[in-house]
């Protein structure tokens, strides 16, 4: 049995910006619908962690030994962003972590590479994007933030392959469609009709070749995902490929925006959540050429979906319908650094120290507690001496990142530093023991109460002297439209 898709995870941020809110502030025409917005404490690394946690939540077998992280908007250069994802997921030290950064097309390469790497072991592809753009422009309005993770591997340990990657083909062309120089947040694009003219033949050629290699004809395609940031080219290509009209997958752009590099994986996840066994799925990426990946759903796909549902994972449909859509445009601009606001009269936060951070990786990245072997008391953060029985160095480490809890008490702190004041702080009692006081996020303090169910989420607390300070926060467990927990674990 060859390697295929074992699992997938989608993360869409809590916040949505109504496109109408942009026009209401800036004047001029207002768009319709919403776009997804990463919160002030999220970046492509944290989005990727959340997607990857969801991809791994329903798996029973061994952890991935290759981690590929891709984004056009990396939190760091030089330093490997995938290492932070690796640490937050608590993957084994022998698992490799690689970044594929910069261009939108890297997302397609990440899926291919993970699929190729997987075999005797599992490979995790994480594609994340966070897209801004100048105020009032189409990039800001039509793009979105989110991440998708896909686990490739062979069936083992009760896990099954839901879809096989049966063929791939690509075309490349050097031309100016969109570009962004390092350090800039807004992309430049050439006049649209030119790109459409160049793209369509490239997409046709790659897709035709991929289908040929898969041994199918366009009419055999049951689900067609065409993704790219060039909206006109995507639309034209969809029609030009000779695939049945009903096979074209409706994208989620009206509600969450175009996720850029993560747009194609999002479409793939969307399809995997409803495709019938045997279905042919073509995923086409339109970016500086074209990539066409042909998947075939296996007979085990329904069982894979059942395992996901049992793990409490929300579907793409539910995630898209969730979230909160009343983000004020001024806050969006502030979070993106497009609106410089007067800070509180408080000192700047301190840069974490590298050795101290390294020593506490188990706590800071993986959110591990220690349980006393003598009396069972749980310590967050880890402690060498037991609070209850004072036994020394008899502790077992236990990962708490995926353990739920409830709010014991909380407060709204209008004095503490925050990029988006006020800070909401909560004392969280975890299921099975352990208490920790932490910041909350994605929270409406007016809806918070003692006993509110929370889950942990990996966030960027702040950036000081160019160092991103990642740690965990609690957030209310959102209830999706079907009553399932948003995010699941």
């Amino acid at each position: 049995m060859s390697a295929g898709i074992l699992s997938w995870g989608v993360y869409l941020p809590y916040w949505r910006l109504q496109r109408g809110a942009i026009g209401a502030v800036l004047g001029g025409p207002s768009g319709r619908g919403t776009r997804s917005v990463a919160s002030y404490d999220e970046d492509t690394t944290t989005l990727g962690v959340e997607a990857a946690r969801r991809a791994l939540a329903a798996l029973e077998g061994p952890p991935p030994e290759d981690l590929l992280f891709s984004t056009p908007a990396p939190a760091y250069l030089d330093k490997t962003n995938a290492a932070a994802v690796h640490a937050a997921l608590d993957l084994p030290p022998w698992a490799a972590s690689y970044d594929l950064l910069g261009s939108v097309r890297s997302g397609a390469a990440t899926l291919r590479a993970a699929g190729a790497m997987a075999g005797g072991h599992r490979a995790l592809a994480v594609v994340s994007d966070l897209r801004t753009g100048l105020a009032g422009g189409p990039e800001e309005r039509d793009s979105g933030d989110g991440a998708v993770a896909v686990v490739f591997g062979e069936a083992s340990g009760g896990d099954r392959v839901g879809a096989e990657l049966v063929a791939h083909a690509a075309t490349s062309s050097e031309f100016l469609d969109r570009w962004r120089t390092p350090g800039e947040t807004d992309s430049k694009v050439w006049e649209e009709r030119f790109g459409q003219e160049v793209y369509v033949p490239l997409v046709e050629a790659a897709t035709a070749e991929a289908l040929k290699r898969a041994g199918v004809v366009p009419a055999d395609v049951d689900h067609l995902v065409v993704a790219g940031l060039h909206a006109r080219a995507v639309q034209a290509a969809r029609k030009a490929l000779g695939v049945r009209q009903e096979a074209a997958v409706t994208d989620r752009i009206p509600v969450v925006g175009n996720l850029g590099a993560a747009q194609a994986p999002l479409g793939l996840a969307d399809v995997l959540e409803r495709a019938e066994p045997g279905a042919v799925i073509a995923v086409v990426v339109v970016a500086d050429g074209a990539d066409a990946l042909v998947f075939r759903a296996t007979d085990d796909l329904p069982a894979v979906r059942a395992a996901r549902a049992a793990a409490g994972l929300a579907t793409v449909e539910e995630l898209v319908a969730g979230g909160r859509d009343d983000l004020p445009y001024a806050r969006f601009l502030t979070w993106r650094g497009e609106l410089r606001r007067e800070p509180a009269r408080r000192p700047d936060p301190e840069r974490p120290g590298s050795p101290a951070t390294w020593r506490s990786t188990g706590w800071k990245s993986a959110f591990e507690a220690t349980d006393c072997r003598a009396c069972g008391f749980r310590h967050l953060p880890p402690s060498r001496v037991c609070l209850r029985c004072r036994t020394v160095d008899e502790m077992d480490r236990v990962r708490m990142a995926d353990v739920g809890g409830q709010v014991a008490t909380f407060t709204v702190d209008r004095l503490a530093f925050s990029l988006s004041p006020p800070v909401v702080g909560a004392v969280v009692d975890f299921d099975g023991g352990g208490r920790y006081r932490c910041e909350m996020t994605d929270v409406d303090p007016d809806a918070l109460a003692t006993g509110t169910r929370v889950e942990m989420t990996f966030r960027r607390l702040y950036t000081a002297e160019g160092v991103h300070n990642y740690f965990w926060k609690a957030r209310p467990v959102a209830v999706g439209p079907s009553g399932s927990d948003q995010g699941g674990e």
């Binding site: 120290g353 101290a356 006081r437 910041e439």
Partner: protein, 400 residues
């Protein structure tokens, strides 16, 4: 193993205390010189007579040089101590032990803090290089967990509890209004307090102590030598200090309605002084009213009120300056602000004035008598669940 105490072995024979406030006019140096010179004058001695110094400061300097340079101390031991909000009291406690041991005849405990120069609101401090995971909550936020927990545990209506909190602030501002050394010297109406803008949780601006600069000092000698310097010394009856294991912050059993560290230090202090009924034995108490719910819970932790009934005593005026047990008759941290190194000694200064009958008539308490003449100073440093606590008892008679 026991906490034996040094009851009646050390006497306070002189004190000084600067006006607290936004002292743009003076740095830590100047404030130290003011408090030290007032204290030596009060004791009728000169700096040459002093054998050793204990300096309490959290942010305003490190090492004994912080004091020896401005005072031009002539090659004598100066020990700088820090212990959060009990920093000033720590200088006093350690100087007492040095005198009691016989190592020195005459010692000074002095504290200072210069907070207003930072340019920031609230307290700021430099932390050791860390991993960046320390919770970012401010002090008001951590103490704001107390009020709702108290209200829930004892079935107090939250609005009534807000009134209790406001009344504590009202009382302390009323006391401070007639104290020339206080930072805020005017009464504040209940309505103003209750409706002040929120800082954290239910805590409004007027539920929080202020930020100020100040310094205070005491001159100490062995009890048997006290009358060489003054006819009216104060004797040290008890000194207790505890640092907790920080359990409340990580223990689901902790309910935010008590400070176990305070309970333990109070029990220790009462045992050292032989006090069995603090509400009847104490003529006054200066307690750490950093936030109004703190003072409420302290009334129970220090044994002044029954558990769950402190709020009723507050409303009944029990702790007013003319009440059954005056608490913070000088105005407390509410009126003085909280220059950390100075606060504990500022509290002791109020005991010095009140227990010896030297407070001005308009604010002299009426509770001091032959059978009831103890004063308490208390500090709490840290926050609910993880803190240090200091309790001292002093009195004008050599034995109770």
């Amino acid at each position: 193993m026991a906490s034996n105490g040094i009851r009646d072995r050390v006497a306070i024979v002189g004190m000084g205390c600067t006006p607290f406030g936004e002292r743009w006019d003076k740095g830590a140096d100047g404030l130290l010189v003011d408090a030290a010179t007032e204290a030596v004058a009060s004791a009728g001695v000169t700096f040459d007579d002093l054998d050793a110094y204990w300096l309490g400061t959290m942010f305003s300097g490190v090492s004994g040089l912080t004091l020896s340079k401005p005072l031009k101390i002539d090659y004598k031991p100066v020990t700088r101590v820090e212990n959060f909000c009990a920093t000033g009291s720590e200088s006093f406690r350690n100087a007492c032990y040095a005198v009691a041991s016989g190592a020195y005849d005459l010692a000074m405990a002095i504290g200072v803090e210069k907070l207003k120069d930072s340019g920031y609101s609230g307290l700021t401090r430099v932390h050791p290089v860390g991993d960046g995971t320390a919770a970012a909550l401010s002090s008001p936020a951590t103490f704001s967990f107390v009020a709702p927990a108290y209200a829930e545990k004892y079935g107090v209506d939250p609005e009534e509890l807000k009134e209790v909190m406001s009344r504590i602030a009202w009382k302390n501002h009323r006391n401070g209004a007639v104290n020339p050394r206080a930072q805020f010297r005017k009464e504040v109406s209940m309505e103003t307090i209750t409706r002040s803008p929120l800082v954290a949780g239910d805590l409004g601006v007027f539920d929080c102590s202020g930020v100020s600069d100040g310094s205070a000092a005491a001159v100490l000698c062995r009890a048997e030598d006290a009358h060489r310097y003054t006819d009216h010394p104060l004797y040290v009856k008890a000194l207790s200090f505890v640092a907790g294991p920080g359990g409340g912050a990580i223990d689901p059993e902790y309910d935010y309605t008590t400070f176990p560290e305070v309970v333990r230090s109070a029990e220790d202090a009462y045992a050292q002084a032989g006090v069995t009924d603090p509400r009847a034995s104490l003529a006054m108490a200066e307690v750490h009213d950093c936030f109004t719910p703190t003072e409420l819970v302290l009334m129970e932790d220090l044994g002044f009120s029954e558990r769950g009934l402190g709020w009723k005593d507050v409303l009944a005026g029990t702790f007013d300056r003319d009440g059954e047990l005056p608490v913070n008759p000088d105005g407390g941290l509410k009126s003085f602000g909280h220059p950390i190194g100075a606060s504990g000694l500022r509290m002791l200064f109020e005991c010095w004035l009140q227990l010896r009958g030297e407070a001005p008539p308009e604010r002299q308490i009426a509770t001091v008598g032959p059978n009831r003449n103890l004063g308490m100073t208390h500090n709490l440093g840290g926050g609910p669940g993880e803190c240090v606590s200091f309790v001292s008892l002093v009195g004008p008679e050599p034995s109770a």
